[in-house]
């Protein structure tokens, strides 16, 4: 049975970003129903029952997270939508924002209603110029049609949404750095606890959710948690998912499939297979650049939260980066390390100093000046970064370093022995 897209149901159609097209396809019906028939508590229960897990990287159960809000109502509660999408290889939220902003917006309104928030902040990556324009127009349309603002659809519920453009730092996608940035400060992650659900934006209880997570809330409101929970691999990996395929595949792009789709199906059937017939698969990063790499031998895996943990990696942002046999694993890691060295906020010692150190060692290895002890040194430095930092950015570079070196150790040693890259002549390093 061919899979009927849910998240991308409108995305390909002309004018899909307009409110008219969205309404014509039955949009905002879920919101109407919920505002009329449901309550915030019931909405939270509904999301819990759906099994929805966050699509921003950690896969934390969305309804459970909402449940962490304090029971008191003495402070305003805020919803921050994480649209900072900057993880290398990840470009799914951008598609939703540009092509179906109202699907996202409806999910935002529903979620804000569920957590009793009256001001939501849409934190969008600054470089998303098109996305910004499109989303602002969608917000304006929603205000004009009474989906935002005072007394939404006559329900007595008020919600304002503020669009806020980031200034171009990957770290501002980390939820507490995002809050700092929203408050007008430098995007430095906060120490936790306290967690944002208790002390978040401007010291008030705050929920931070990913764009795709909230788009899923629209689906749940439309057709119910029971229906939603049948999609994917229930009970713990439910719902549709957007996968970003990049690297050495014929048709890179965003593909929708249920959670639990086989990785090889995504690569071979959806993305058209490997780019060059003469180069077999070497490795895949299944969940965005921060996740551990899987060698080809481990790529027979289902793409969901728990299957990937079992395989030694994580679903992360579901950015599938495909590397064929022409890829130098020292170079690939160097390229990654450069990104992380550039993006480390510089706040805490292990990450600030470790990220730059990785780059320097890897540059030497690539340049043929590696020493035998460098290979273990990389791993040891990564081990000392892991678990010792303020925010998970530390792991986001430690895990790749550990896994690239462990999985392709021979290649690292060969760089030392041969004083350079054995693949230099053939590698597709572009």
């Amino acid at each position: 049975m061919p899979y009927e897209p849910l998240l991308l149901r409108n995305a390909g159609k002309p004018g899909s970003e307009t409110i008219d097209a969205y309404l014509a396809s039955g949009g905002y019906q879920g919101l109407r129903r919920v505002l009329k028939e449901s309550t915030p508590e019931k909405m939270v229960e509904e999301v819990k029952a759906s099994g929805l897990r966050g699509r921003g990287g950690a896969g934390f159960a969305t309804g459970v997270k909402w449940g962490f809000l304090p029971k008191t109502r003495d402070k305003p509660r805020y919803l921050c939508i994480n649209a900072d999408e900057s993880e290398p290889g990840t470009f799914k939220d951008r598609l939703l924002i540009e092509k179906d902003p109202h699907l996202v917006l409806e999910g935002i309104i529903l979620s804000a209603y569920a957590i009793e928030c009256r001001t939501a902040f849409f934190y969008i990556r600054g470089e998303f110029h098109q996305g910004c324009r499109v989303f602002q127009r969608a917000v304006d349309e929603a205000y004009a049609k009474g989906f935002l603002g005072k007394n939404i659809l006559g329900s007595g519920y008020d919600l304002d949404l503020v669009l806020y453009r980031g200034a171009g730092a990957y770290i501002c996608g980390e939820e507490t750095a995002l809050l700092e940035s929203l408050e007008g400060k430098r995007g430095l992650p906060r120490i936790k606890p306290p967690f944002p659900a208790i002390v978040g934006l401007y010291g008030c209880p705050t929920i931070i959710n990913n764009v795709e997570t909230l788009a899923n809330v629209t689906l749940i409101a439309e057709r119910g948690a029971a229906w939603y929970a049948t999609i994917g691999r229930p009970p713990k990996n439910t719902g549709p998912k957007l996968y970003c395929l990049s690297g050495h595949v014929k048709r890179p792009g965003v593909y929708e499939a249920p959670l639990g789709v086989p990785l090889m199906e995504l690569i071979e059937e959806r993305a058209g297979g490997l780019l060059r017939p003469d180069r077999p698969l070497k490795a895949v990063v299944p969940g965005g650049s921060s996740m551990r790499i899987l060698p080809a031998s481990k790529c027979d895996v289902l793409m969901d939260f728990d299957s990937l943990v079992a395989a030694g990696s994580m679903l992360g942002s579901a950015a599938v980066i495909v590397m064929d046999a022409g890829t130098c694993m020292v170079w690939a890691l160097l390229s990654l390390a450069r990104f992380y060295a550039h993006e480390s906020c510089g706040q805490c010692t292990p990450c600030r100093e470790g990220t730059g150190w990785f780059v320097k060692i890897l540059e030497r290895l690539e340049a043929g000046q590696g020493r035998p002890e460098d290979v273990d040194l990389l791993t040891d430095v990564a081990n000392k970064v892991e678990g010792n930092t303020i925010c998970p950015f530390g792991e986001a570079i430690a895990w790749p370093v550990q896994s690239y070196v462990k999985t392709f150790r021979e290649e690292y040693e060969e760089h030392v022995r041969r004083k350079g890259c054995p693949l230099a002549a053939t590698a597709t390093v572009s």
Binding site: I191, H342, G346, C348
Partner: protein
């Protein structure tokens, strides 16, 4: 987009000692098998400190918010899969903390290695050497080797980040203590962290250097040699310095300070923690209040005019000069009556000095009027600085000749100008230099007797000038505006022939029949304690390092 999930659990610990019972506002926990009871809200690092265990730390400072960025304080907490930072983790009932495990130790080694890979290691030319946390902790917790074979990151060195502060960005460990100080304590917001990754650097905003009345505290709290105090740079290796606890005499706050001395000189003044007075801080003016000691010309020995008027001052022996002073006073009283005698006494002097001023000048010599000039400047600020620049106004009011009173001083000086006052004793004040009187008017006096530490214009005009100890050369008590009595300590040998003011006054008093022994400042203070109710029960010893509050009516 990783969120860490650490799989491994620490091995379950051997059974330790039982937890002590905790009160309703307390929690009890075990730190390295030591039972500790602390107030709720105490952090693990502070709890360990209370138990006498040091959790090494860079970014934590008791006077600042928690940043949690250096990661030096990572400790093991039972049931937590990851190490936790002691500075930000609240002690909880039943918590089991370990600060000495192999895992903690290897993590500290790693943090030290990270901190040093891009550090210039220029200890031999660094002012902080000897009191640098990098040095201390590398010795105590480091692996003693580096595996870093790369070019280090380079940053500006010897950079004037403020009027009095020099910044070496290569030595900086980005603990942000200085930034937090400017945000939270001075509230002047000059500093911030700029750039990212290993290029992160502390800096200022264009056109706004680090320049606030408290900027020197950033230097004190900088755990490394990144921020240095310009006046102290390259002046002395800190291991030669000896810190003498004292109180600042810069204003009515009377901050607790340390006077760092070497070769009979104060090289710097730093704050000494006193939660009742100045917490951890002092102002820049107080920090530099030792400068006049070396900048102003000192009065080396007693001086007296050979003949009565007009001739130049000449060196005199102490006895001779004191005799001359007494004789002048006596002659004036005889010729014009005791109403022609007056005195100006400073509220910058100690309680002991002021007590003897009263005893010797008022009671023994019968000088009917003593005036105490006020010194005010600016306004009280939000932190420490008081507009009242006299450190002992309260002491003068309680134990000395009275509270500072501009009117009374003015009256006396007008009487000098009018020729009604013909002999004036000035102790620790400079009415001529301060513009309270002009030279011609002062010149009408038959006797001007000045006790001061420097050759002030008034002292230069004196018939008898008697050299007293400068700041840091004598013992004494100051009472701050809140009534806290604190000790000033003698950190230096008196300059040349200088004597403590109270002793000079004692000797002068003896020439008028003053009876008491007054062998030491502490004995003088004992008499104050015995005779002035506000000081009842106090003694130098009882004041200790942090002082005590006097009992005001």
């Amino acid at each position: 987009m990783a969120e860490p999930k650490e799989p491994q659990q620490p091995p379950s610990p051997p059974p330790g000692p039982a937890l002590p019972a905790a009160g309703p506002d307390d929690v009890s926990l075990l730190i390295d098998d030591r039972p500790v009871v602390v107030r709720k809200g105490t952090t693990v690092l502070q709890a360990a400190e209370q138990a006498g265990l040091l959790v090494p730390h860079y970014c934590y400072h008791a006077g600042l918010s928690i940043a949690g960025n250096c990661r030096m304080c990572l400790v093991e907490i039972e049931k937590a899969p990851k190490l936790q930072i002691g500075c930000a983790t609240a002690a909880a009932q039943g918590m089991v903390v370990r600060t000495q495990t192999a895992r903690v130790k290897s993590t500290r080694e790693a943090i030290m290695e990270f901190l040093l890979i891009n550090h210039p290691l220029d200890c031999p030319i660094c002012d902080q050497a000897g009191e640098c946390r990098l040095q201390q902790y590398e010795a105590a917790y480091g692996a003693g080797r580096s595996r870093f074979n790369e070019e280090k990151v380079h940053f500006p060195k010897r950079y004037d980040i403020g009027r009095n502060v020099v910044f070496d960005a290569e030595r900086c460990i980005k603990c942000t203590r200085c930034v937090r100080f400017c945000d939270e304590v001075s509230k002047t917001h000059e500093l911030a962290l700029f750039d990212r990754g290993d290029h992160a650097i502390i800096g200022t905003f264009p056109g706004r250097p680090l320049d606030n009345p408290y900027s020197g505290n950033t230097v004190d709290i900088c755990p490394v040699g990144a921020l240095t105090w310009k006046p102290f740079r390259f002046r002395a290796r800190v291991w030669f310095l000896r810190d003498v606890p004292s109180a600042c005499a810069g204003c009515a706050r009377g901050c607790s300070v340390n006077l760092a001395t070497y070769n009979n000189r104060i090289h710097r003044i730093t704050p000494r923690q006193n939660m009742q007075v100045n917490r951890f801080w002092i102002c820049d003016a107080g920090r530099e209040s030792h400068a006049p000691l070396s900048e102003r010309p000192r009065l080396a020995g007693p001086r007296a005019l050979a003949a009565c008027k007009g001739g130049p001052q000449q060196e005199a022996a102490w006895e001779e000069a004191l005799d001359r002073a007494a004789e002048l006073l006596r002659e004036t009283a005889k010729a014009h009556g005791s109403g022609a005698l007056a005195g100006i006494v400073s509220a910058r002097l100690s309680v002991e000095d002021l007590h003897l001023a009263r005893k010797a000048l008022s009671e023994a010599a019968g000088i009917p009027r003593l005036g105490v000039p006020p010194h005010v400047e600016g306004e009280d600020d939000h932190l420490l600085i008081r507009r009242d620049r006299t450190p002992n106004a309260k002491g003068a009011a309680l134990a000395g000749p009275g509270a500072p009173h501009a009117g009374r001083v003015k009256e006396i000086l007008e009487d000098v100008a009018a020729g009604r006052v013909r002999a004036l004793v000035v102790v620790g004040e400079d009415p001529l230099g301060d513009g309270l009187i002009d030279a011609a008017a002062l010149g009408r006096l038959d006797a001007l007797i000045v006790i001061d530490w420097w050759k002030s214009p008034t002292a230069e005009a004196a018939h008898v000038a008697l050299p007293s100890c400068g700041y840091g050369e004598c013992e004494g008590v100051l009472v701050n505006f809140e009534g806290r009595a604190q000790r000033m300590r003698a950190a230096l040998r008196p300059w040349a022939e200088a004597e403590p003011t109270w002793r000079i006054l004692r000797e002068l008093g003896r020439r008028f029949g003053l009876a008491g022994e007054y062998p030491t400042a502490s004995a003088v203070f004992d008499e104050v304690a015995a005779t002035v109710p506000a000081f009842a029960g106090l003694s130098h010893r009882a004041l200790g390092g942090l002082g005590a509050v006097v009992k005001e009516a």
